[in-house]
Symmetry: C2
Subunit: 333 residues, 2 copies
């Protein structure tokens, strides 16, 4: 049993201290985290962005990522969507008794790599252990703090008629990668999750135009749900063109097989930007130059109207795109 998590690892006692010091703090070491006080204390001045997400993805390891990479990308991306540069993260584990210590190490190693890529530091954390059957392997929460640069003001409420709708790349990769692994499906071309930190691309976009109105990452509920959120928050009509929305062939094939609409499938490394028409080309160019935006495209426009999303289909008709209803893909993130 010594290679597995025991209830005593969550007790606050000696085993818990050893677990935290050897398997969490050592690999993620930085001067703030190593103090091991009840709270991290750091200097901060300016406009602060603050967000949180819990990650319950099943399975915890999937093509293109794992729950650790997801927990860093998801939260740093939420910060980036407010225009912030992510700076500090908290990291909290809920672990099921019996979980393999080597899987903890694998997750922490992935977390370390992703924090280095996103240039963010984990400065505080927590570990809880629950009895066998009271969780499914491991759940992770990350909360994040970022700095919003002077002059940047992004919100889902800022969309204006005339704005162009930009999408950073093909949709549906994450949802299909997780579902195919969960269901044991085998496609001729393997679909990998797009799970990636978008903060570097967002910084380049803001440098290209500080006038960007809204950014949002289409995670749970997919592109359709995200566009509906923005249309509703800003009380505008968003019109997108089906032909312009990139979907990989293998994702489309999987969606057809599984009965999914790629518009509703989750992404973890994509963003939607609503940008004044005058700056759209410049922002699109900045996206295409960055690592995770090479396939960025313009997919539509914001119009006068109230809280709806309309798609011009490849047949030339118009279709109302609703928010996701029901539970298409539980535990996708």
């Amino acid at each position: 049993m010594s290679d597995r998590i025991l209830l005593a690892h969550g007790s606050g006692g000696t085993l818990a201290h050893r677990l935290v010091e050897e398997r969490f703090v050592k690999p993620l070491l930085n001067p703030v985290l190593s103090k091991l006080d009840d709270a991290a204390v750091v200097d901060f001045a300016g406009r602060l962005a603050f967000t949180t997400d819990s990650y319950v993805v099943n399975p915890i390891f999937f093509p293109g990522g794992d729950i650790g990479r997801l927990a860093i990308c998801g939260t740093t991306n939420d910060l980036a969507m407010s225009g912030a540069r992510p700076v500090y993260l908290s990291l909290s584990f809920i672990i099921e008794e019996g979980f393999l210590l080597t899987d903890i190490d694998r997750i922490i190693s992935s977390i370390r790599e992703t924090t280095e890529e996103a240039e963010v530091k984990i400065v505080t954390g927590d570990t809880k252990v629950v009895d066998r059957g009271s969780a499914d392997k491991v759940y992770i929460n990350t909360a994040g703090i970022g700095v919003v640069p002077e002059g940047v003001s992004l919100s889902g409420r800022n969309a204006q008629p005339g704005d162009k709708v930009l999408l950073s790349g093909p949709i549906g990769d994450h949802g299909i990668a997780v579902m195919s692994k969960r269901e044991g499906l085998d496609f001729s071309t393997k679909v990998e999750s797009d799970c990636a930190p978008l903060c570097e691309m967002v910084a380049a976009m803001i440098a290209a135009s500080p006038k960007i109105h809204c950014l949002r990452d289409p995670t749970r509920g997919g592109l359709a749900t995200t566009l509906n959120e923005l249309a509703s928050q800003s009380n505008v009509r968003i019109v997108i063109e089906e032909e312009r929305i990139p979907v990989r062939d293998e994702v489309l094939a999987a969606c057809e097989m599984l009965g999914f609409d790629p518009l509703y499938v989750a992404n973890e490394g994509k963003l939607v930007a609503l940008v004044p028409a005058s700056d759209a080309e410049r922002v699109l160019a900045a996206m295409r130059k960055s690592k995770y935006g090479k396939e960025a495209v313009l997919i539509g426009e914001v119009k006068e109207g109230s809280s709806r999303v309309v798609m011009k289909t490849s047949l030339g008709t118009s279709r109302l795109i609703d928010m996701l209803t029901g539970d298409l893909l539980p535990r996708i993130c």
Copy 2:
């Protein structure tokens, strides 16, 4: 089934939006939270304290509190232990499919009351739903941000020989309250959890003496584990006197029946302070004047020596007090 949580409540779609807007945002409403962007944006200047905890307590409702009150107290107390005034919290739920919506309301109502008492705002949040059997009812994560006043520098590393050890009240109440409820035990006098926000007391203590060296709340692992952490971080010997440590009669009786040592039983509304001898009386007086410190006492002293805790027993002998080993009380917080 409409009175229970469905998987679709975690999908990011319409049901998820309705759950969040009606049952979370409306009762907890403030101008930042109501924006519903991916991250909350607020102004901040100064030294920032940041902490996180996940709460997996079983049962979720117990005498003297519930998982909601615990999630606010635990995290604001961790901030307070760094000398910070808690300001902003995040709130993230992992909910098991089938959980009663009325229990969500009950928890949120308790969260609202406790945030009002602690004068802290919930500004961002997240909700995940997992399939039945993949969690035990509900788990909550809160992360918190606080402001550390100028000139305050508290750390477990700051203890000095000569410091007095102050304890804010009787120990063991929380652990025994939770265990008695979980095991269905019935004591002639009901034990209630001490679960409480300590930030007001801490502010009064700091006003009485900015020279306090360490504060820590003896939660998981109890007073014995907390004193061991401080002795180890500061590399000092801490000597406490058994006769001075307050334990309620009913807690002592329960501990004897269950085979627990109250020194290792969790508290959720107590703190330990290590304070220079010159200021100890003043700090103690400030504690006794505040709502949750009326029974505060001096229990010992910091001495030269290395990383150990010694207790002078009521029989006149000395006993080495170790950190908790094993899993005395799983899922106590």
